[in-house]
């Protein structure tokens, strides 16, 4: 089960920012910092050739990271133009990225045959 802290914090943020006309700079800094971290992971997986059998995992991971990046970008743009619909769109994107990551995590965790085979060789 994927940790929901990121998703829930953005949902809370969307509620808190709804109708806002001013945004605290430290929250923007936090979002930018998180986005940089996502970008770093994206670059990491994009630059690496995945091992055989992990191609789809890698593609889905990239897709998930991209969605989360784009979702965070919506929040950051909202901080400039205060268009409320960006918040719901941002949350939807992060939710979608979250779902994809959960699928990847499930696939890694449930595929027991290869793990035992690899370790007990």
């Amino acid at each position: 089960m994927l940790n929901l802290t990121l998703l829930n914090s953005l949902r809370d943020l969307a509620k808190a920012w709804h109708g806002a006309e001013e945004i605290e700079e430290r929250i923007i800094d936090s979002l930018e910092e998180l986005q940089e971290r996502i970008d770093d992971r994206y670059a990491h997986y994009e630059d690496q050739t995945p091992p055989t059998g992990a191609e789809a995992l890698r593609d889905l991971m990239l897709e998930a990271l991209r969605l989360i990046h784009d979702g965070l970008e919506e929040f950051l743009i909202f901080a400039e133009d205060f268009t409320d619909k960006r918040l719901s769109l941002g949350v939807a994107m992060v939710e979608e990225g979250h779902d994809l990551m959960e699928s990847v995590l499930d696939a890694i965790g449930q595929d027991l045959n290869w793990t035992s085979g690899a370790s007990l060789s």
Binding site: L2, N3, L4, T5, L6, L7, S9, S30, E33, L34, R37, I38, R41, Q48, P50, P51, T52, G53, A54, E55, A56, L57, R58, D59, L60, M61, E63, L65, R66, L67, I68, D70, E73, E74, I77, A92, M93, E96, H98, D99, L100, M101, S103, V104, L105, A107, I108, G109, Q110, D111, L112, N113, W114, T115, S116, G117, A118, S119, L120, S121
Partner: protein
């Protein structure tokens, strides 16, 4: 589900584009990967395992949204500590998802209490961490295809004679019960130069470190005879190079027998009563050592 995305450049108005990523599509893509994995070689599986483990860790970290700088303690303690205190390390978080998956397979075969399961999961995570650590230094913790993970799984985690209590207690073993005196350590290293560089030493240290949580560098410096045949009080030699062993042949069998027996016997001296009996059939150090040598002589237990 339909994903709406925006292609953006700095300062531009987002341009809507759409892509479709249904649950069925995701599942189908994952199934393709899974089918490919059925035909992988052990080396390819190991590469996949490392990649997937890292990915699982990254996913967990993204989900946790830790905005503060994250730091993870490693077990690399360069200075040997006081043997009267016992330093321990926790496995890094990124190894836990894979360890959990691997343990699920083991626990399907041998029933363990929740406390024992948690202890075993940490041990497996430490082994994964140690394997990566040693691999990065150019050492593969494996002899004749037998890894410390295989030894641990078969002899400890999936050995029903090794009780939950034993497994849980391993994390409480004190360094002072294992450590040699400074004089003895010096003597051992003089008698067997380079003993701490032997693969048997590294594998024994790693296995003992994984089950006790004591950093490998600490164990190695305080117990340089780990992975050597014989005893400090009598003869000491590299496993497989003794007179009888050379006649018998099969150096790897003696090496593996030594790694396992040193681990169980050191743990016995650390207070894990019954472990020698659970693994070798006899509790006495000398008798169990004899059994391990006898097994190796007749072909070893991992053939």
């Amino acid at each position: 589900m339909i994903i709406l995305k925006f292609n953006q450049t700095a300062g531009s108005t987002p341009v809507l584009r759409t892509s479709i990523s249904s649950a069925e599509t995701v599942e189908a893509r994952l199934q393709v990967d899974k089918a490919r994995r059925q035909t992988l070689t052990p080396r390819e599986l190991a590469a996949y395992r490392g990649y997937a483990g890292e990915m699982a860790s990254d996913i967990q970290q993204v989900g946790q949204n830790e905005l503060s700088a994250q730091s993870q303690d490693n077990f690399d303690l360069s200075e040997p500590s006081d043997p009267n205190s016992t330093p321990r390390y926790e496995p890094q978080d990124r190894y836990l998802p894979l360890a959990e998956a691997m343990c699920s397979a083991a626990f399907a075969l041998v029933r363990r209490s929740p406390e024992a399961q948690e202890a075993v999961k940490k041990m497996v995570a430490r082994i994964l961490q140690l394997e990566e650590h040693y691999t990065s230094q150019g050492t593969e913790l494996k002899i004749a295809g037998t890894s410390i993970m295989k030894i641990f799984m078969l002899e400890f985690a999936m050995n029903s004679r090794v009780t939950d209590e034993m497994l849980i207690k391993m994390a409480s073993v004190e360094l002072k019960d294992l450590a040699r005196t400074p004089e003895r350590r010096k003597n051992i290293e003089e008698r067997v130069p380079g003993c701490r560089e032997l693969i048997t030493h590294k594998m024994t240290v790693a296995l003992l470190s994984a089950v006790t949580g004591i950093p490998p560098e600490i164990l190695s410096s305080h117990c340089p005879d780990l992975g050597l045949s014989g005893t400090p009080g009598a003869g000491l030699w590299e496993p497989g190079t003794g007179y009888t062993e050379q006649i018998a042949g099969g150096k790897e069998d003696f090496q593996l027998a030594n790694i396992l027996h040193d681990t169980t016997d050191f743990l016995k001296h650390g207070g894990i009563d019954g472990l020698n009996r659970a693994v070798w059939g006899r509790e006495d150090s000398l008798v169990s050592a004899g059994i391990s040598v006898g097994e190796a002589y007749w072909g070893g237990r991992y053939d």
